[in-house]
Symmetry: C2
Subunit: 355 residues, 2 copies
C-alpha cells in the first residue's frame, strides 16, 4: 500500500506533518512518498501539478493532501494557479464522490455562530459530485455574443452538464451512505430553473426506487441554503452537484463551528481517494505553528477506513482525537475560556500520546 | 401612475391585501389594477403568466407581487409551473437589478439562528443580477453526449453566460448603492473555476475605478457562504450573479431571523420595478390568516421610493412598521414570549392605524 503525501502551501506543510506523525506511530505497513503541489510546485517546477506529482498520486492507493493557494499567486493566469492542482487531481484520478461530514463536536458546540441548541449533536454528511457539472463542462471561454440581451457584445460563458451515468453513480453513493446512517437522502437541485438539475432530480427518483428503505426528498438549492441555517439537524445525507456542493458544504462546515476539525474524502470507483481538511491554506497564519492539525489527522483516519482497509486504525485515531479534546487542549481556532491553548505540534503530539 | 397588483398563490393574496390597504390609506393619486399570476392564473387561463397579466405589468409603473407556487403544480411541465411567471416578468420587463436587503430588526434579534451579538444591527444589501447568467443562457436542454466522461450517454446541459454590458450595468448599480451606504462593495464570484466569473471580476475591477470613493473586494462564492455565517456584519453591499445571488440572498435573509420582514425590489433601467417579499408562498399556512404581511408592506414602501417617486410616503410606511413592532404585535413567524400574537389582518390594521 502506498500513500502520496502532498502538503501543498500555507499551513498545509505544518498540518500534514502532524498527520504523518500520527500515521507513523500506528506502525502499519504502508509506504509514504511526498511531492510538491500547488504554489510550492509552481515555484519549483513552473506548474501547480507537475507530471511527477500526478504520476505519484495515480500510482498511490491514497493521497493525503494539505491545502493549496496563496494570495501571491492571484495574478498568475488561471491554468497556473495553485487551485488548478486540486481540480487536476480530481479529474485525472476520477474522484467523483466527495464526502464532507459537517459534524458539531460536543466539546466545541459553543464555537458555532449558531445558537447551541441548533447545532448540538449535529451530524450531516454532504456528498458532492466532484468531476462533472460546470466545473469541467465544455465549451467555455470568451467570444462575441450572437444572441442574448446584447448581441455583438463581448461575453464569457461556461457549460453546466451532467450525463446519466454521472448522476446515477453519485446517487448510488448517497443512498448507500444513507443506509449506514439515518436512511434519509436530501437531493439538492434547481430543477425549477435548470435543465441539468431537472434531469438530476429525475434520476435521483429513479435510483431511489432501488432503495425503498431510504427516504428521499428534494430541495431547491436556495431553500437548502436557508434550511441549513434554520434547522441543520433536519438533514442526514445531502447529495448535490459540484457547484452547489461547493457552496453548501462550506456553509454547513462553517455552521458547525468546527471547521478546523472537519476532514473530507474524495473517492473514485476503485476506492482510491484523496483526503484533505475542509479548510483552506490560511496563508495569514502559515509558518506560525498555530494551525489546527486535527482536520488533517481525521482525514488520515478517513483514508485508513475508505482506501486502505484499516478500519480499526481509523477508529483508534478518531478516539484519540476525541480524548485529546476532552483533556481541554485547543488550537487557537477552537480555543475558548477555560481550555488550554496549544500549537500545531503540541496538538499532534497529544494525539500521538493518546494513541 | 399605475400599479399592477399581482397577489399570486398561497399566502400571496392575504399579504398583498394588507399592503393594498396601506397604500390606499396614504391617499396618493395612483391607480391600482389587479390580475392573476402563477398557479391562480394557470387555473383560470391555462398559463402562469397570461398575456393580459404581462401587458398590465408592462404598462404599469410598478408591480406589487405577492408570491407564487404550490406543491400541487409540481407535476406540471416546467413551462406551466407558477415560478415561470416570475422568470417571465423579470425577462420581459428587463428587471436586471434585484435589491435584497438583509436587515436584522432590533426587536427581532432573538429570532435569528445566530447568536445575537453576530446579527444585532445587521444591515447588508445584496444586489443580484436578475436577467442573465445560467437562468436564461441558451443553449440548454437534453441530448446525447458527444464528449465528456460518458460519450454516447444521455445528458442535460445549461449555459452560464454574461456579456460585458450586463456586468457593467449591475456593477454601476452596486457602486452607486454603496455610495448611499457604507461605501463598500463585495463582488462575489467563482473566478478560480468559471470563465464567466473571471470576466465578471475583471469588469467589476474596471468599473470600480470610476468609484474611487468606494472600496471593492472580491470573494469566492463558497467563502461568501461561510463568511455570511461567521461574520455577516462585515458586509455592506454584496453584488453577484443571478445563480449565486439566488443562494446567498436566501442564506443571508434567513440568517437575520427576520425573513418575514424582508422586502425586495427588482428594477429595470427605467426604474420600473417589481416589488415582492423575500419569502415564498407558504402553501402550508395559506388561507389561515396568520401570514406576516410586513415584508409585503415594506415592499410597497420600496416601490414608493424607487419607482413612484414618493420617498416621504415610503418613510411614513417604514416608520409605521417600526412603531407597530415596538408595541409588541407579532405574527406567528416572529412571535416570542412576552409579545402579542396577531393575525395577518390585525397586523395590517395596526400599520394603517400607525399611519
Ligand atoms: C479551490 C477550489 C477550486 C475548490 C472548489 O471549488 O472545488 C475548493 O473550493 C473546494 O471546495 O475544494
Ligand atoms: C422561484 C424561483 C425561480 C426564483 C429564482 O430562483 O430566482 C426564486 O427562488 C427567487 O429567488 O426569486
Amino acid at each position: 500500500m502506498k500513500i502520496a503525501i502532498l502538503p501543498g502551501d500555507g499551513i498545509g506543510t505544518e498540518i500534514v506533518a502532524e498527520a504523518v506523525k500520527v500515521l507513523k506511530v500506528l506502525d502499519l505497513s504502508f509506504e509514504m512518498e511526498a511531492a510538491l503541489v500547488g504554489g510550492a510546485a509552481y515555484e519549483a517546477h513552473g506548474h501547480p501539478l507537475p507530471e511527477s506529482t500526478l504520476n505519484l498520486a495515480k500510482a498511490a492507493d491514497a493521497v493525503l493532501f494539505g491545502a493549496v493557494g496563496d494570495w501571491k499567486y492571484d495574478k498568475l493566469e488561471r491554468a497556473l494557479r495553485p487551485e488548478q492542482a486540486i481540480l487536476g487531481l480530481r479529474k485525472n484520478l476520477g474522484l467523483f464522490a466527495n464526502f464532507r461530514p459537517a459534524i458539531c463536536y460536543e466539546q466545541l458546540t459553543h464555537a458555532s455562530s449558531l445558537k447551541p441548541e441548533l447545532v448540538a449533536g449535529l451530524d450531516i454528511l454532504i456528498i458532492r459530485e466532484l468531476t462533472g457539472d460546470i466545473y469541467f463542462g465544455q465549451p467555455r471561454g470568451r467570444r462575441t455574443a450572437v444572441d442574448g440581451l446584447f448581441p455583438g457584445a463581448e461575453e464569457a460563458f461556461d457549460t453546466m452538464r451532467y450525463s446519466r451515468p454521472e448522476v446515477e453513480r453519485i446517487a448510488h453513493v448517497a443512498f448507500q451512505a444513507a443506509r449506514r446512517r439515518n436512511k434519509r437522502v436530501t437531493s439538492v437541485d434547481k430543477a425549477n430553473v435548470l435543465e441539468t438539475f431537472q434531469f438530476w432530480k429525475d434520476i435521483m427518483i429513479e435510483v431511489g426506487q432501488q432503495y425503498p428503505d431510504v427516504a428521499l426528498d428534494h430541495m431547491y438549492v436556495d431553500n437548502a441554503a436557508m434550511q441549513l441555517v434554520k434547522a441543520p439537524k433536519k438533514f442526514d445525507v445531502v447529495v448535490t452537484g459540484n457547484m452547489f456542493g461547493d457552496i453548501l458544504s462550506d456553509e454547513a462546515a462553517m455552521l458547525t463551528g468546527s471547521i478546523g476539525m472537519l476532514p473530507s474524502a474524495s473517492l473514485n470507483d476503485r476506492n482510491q481517494g484523496l483526503y484533505e481538511p475542509s479548510h483552506g491554506s490560511a496563508p495569514d497564519i502559515a509558518g506560525q505553528g498555530v494551525a489546527n492539525p486535527l482536520a488533517t489527522i481525521l482525514s488520515a483516519a478517513m483514508m485508513l477506513r475508505y482506501s486502505l482497509n484499516q478500519p480499526e486504525a481509523a477508529d483508534r485515531i478518531e478516539s484519540a482525537v476525541s480524548a485529546v479534546l476532552s483533556t481541554g487542549l485547543r488550537t487557537g481556532d477552537i480555543w475558548s475560556e477555560g481550555t488550554q491553548r496549544v500549537g500545531t505540534r503540541e496538538m499532534g503530539d497529544a494525539v500521538v500520546a493518546a494513541l
